[in-house]
């Protein structure tokens, strides 16, 4: 059974925001339309939207999404978690941290 965007979204929608008593879905930080999957190519791309452009929790939120996917998906999948373009002041720096495969915990 091939993995699709809905299945990926179901894995991440209930992750709690670190600061507010709400899930990432409730805060519109993650949306199914911003999830792209290719099962034959074993790739997943998730764009997440921090609630404000200077959100200091952006890296932490990105990591929680990435870790959830790493723990839930088959090892063959290559994960790309990044900030929705134009929605954060330090988008490049945060994306670079999330892409570093030597990062502890990833």
């Amino acid at each position: 059974d091939s993995i699709d965007a809905r299945e990926i979204f179901d894995l991440i929608r209930s992750i709690n925001d670190p600061e507010h008593p709400l899930t990432l879905e409730e805060l519109n930080v993650v949306e199914q339309v911003r999830v792209q999957v290719s099962d034959p190519e074993s790739t997943v791309a998730v764009a997440f939207t921090p609630t404000i452009p200077h959100c200091s929790m952006a890296t932490l939120i990105g990591l929680s999404i990435k870790v959830k996917l790493l723990r839930s998906l088959p090892q063959r999948f290559k994960m790309d978690v990044h900030i929705t373009p134009g929605t954060h002041a330090s988008e490049h720096a945060v994306n670079k941290q999330l892409a570093d495969k030597e990062r502890p915990g990833l």
Binding site: K78, D100, K101
Partner: protein
């Protein structure tokens, strides 16, 4: 007749984890591998098969990221995310950890022996590069802590014939170091990559330095006094380029590998007239 690459064998070297690095010993008879299972394995041939000759398992508490053989082939150094570097001494098929080098504040990313065998370099996520001296009694002493990079240092490599050290970093640069008047100093910074530089390799002549990066390019650098010049830039792979290696015997033959799972082979030629 077409070129071919024939598979000789495949071994489950680091089960349920990632195999991070490989190093052939100078004699070409053994291959050391290391990985996320915190172990180092030494592989050799028995007839037509590749078998595991040793497992070095008591050295590190976390992932072993790189291994490096000393030029004489009697020692193996291992760099680990546990912030230490182990020095293993080979005694026939056995390896014994003779020293553990401490000092880095967090994950050690790379270790490399100078061609003389008397110097060792390590680098870390703590942004520093350390130079160590080894004496005749196998005692190690840190002789320099270099804080030139502004981010995680991913790789260090020595020039094949000079005491010149190169480092690659998350800060997108390559830096070169040499000893000047008894002090190690950063003598050059190579800028051009647009993202993390993961690895470096000098060609056997030492005249070219290849670097590879998260920006998906391989760049070839040539020394051009008084500064340095980027000789060539190539879009190498569709994902992160993790490693570049020059063939030790055939000039201009370069291999690169990537997160896209591929190894690419390149022929580098200096343009006529330059």
């Amino acid at each position: 007749m077409k070129d071919s690459l024939v598979l000789l064998g495949r071994v489950p070297a680091h089960p349920d984890s990632r195999c991070w690095f490989l190093a052939w010993n100078p004699a070409g008879t053994l291959l050391a591998s290391c990985g996320g299972d915190r172990r180092i394995r030494i592989w050799g041939t028995e007839g037509d098969s590749w078998i595991c000759k040793s497992v070095l398992s008591e050295g590190h508490q976390r992932t072993v990221r790189k291994v490096a053989w000393s030029p004489c082939g009697n020692y193996l150094a291992s760099a680990s995310f546990d912030a230490t570097t182990c020095i293993w001494k080979k005694n026939q098929d056995d390896f014994e950890c003779v020293t553990t080098l401490e000092g880095h504040e967090n994950e050690v990313k790379s270790v490399a022996w100078a061609p003389s065998g008397n110097l060792l370099a390590t680098c870390s996520r703590d942004k520093s590069v350390w130079v160590w001296e080894v004496d005749e009694e196998d005692e190690y002493e840190c002789v320099s802590v270099l804080n030139s990079h502004t981010q995680d240092v991913k790789h260090v490599v020595w020039h094949p014939s000079q005491e010149l050290l190169a480092s690659a970093s998350y800060d997108d640069t390559v830096k070169l170091y040499r000893e000047e008047e008894d002090d190690w100093v950063c003598c050059a910074t190579l800028e051009g990559h647009e993202s993390t530089v993961w690895s470096l390799a000098f060609d056997p002549s030492g005249q070219r330095l290849a670097s590879c990066s998260d920006d998906r390019t391989v760049r070839i650098w040539r020394q051009y006094l008084p500064g340095n010049e980027q000789a060539h830039l190539h879009q190498a792979h569709s994902q992160d380029v993790n490693c570049v290696a020059w063939n030790p015997k055939e000039p201009g033959l370069l291999a690169s590998c990537s997160d896209d799972g591929e190894v690419a082979f390149w022929k580098y030629q200096r343009p006529e007239g330059l």
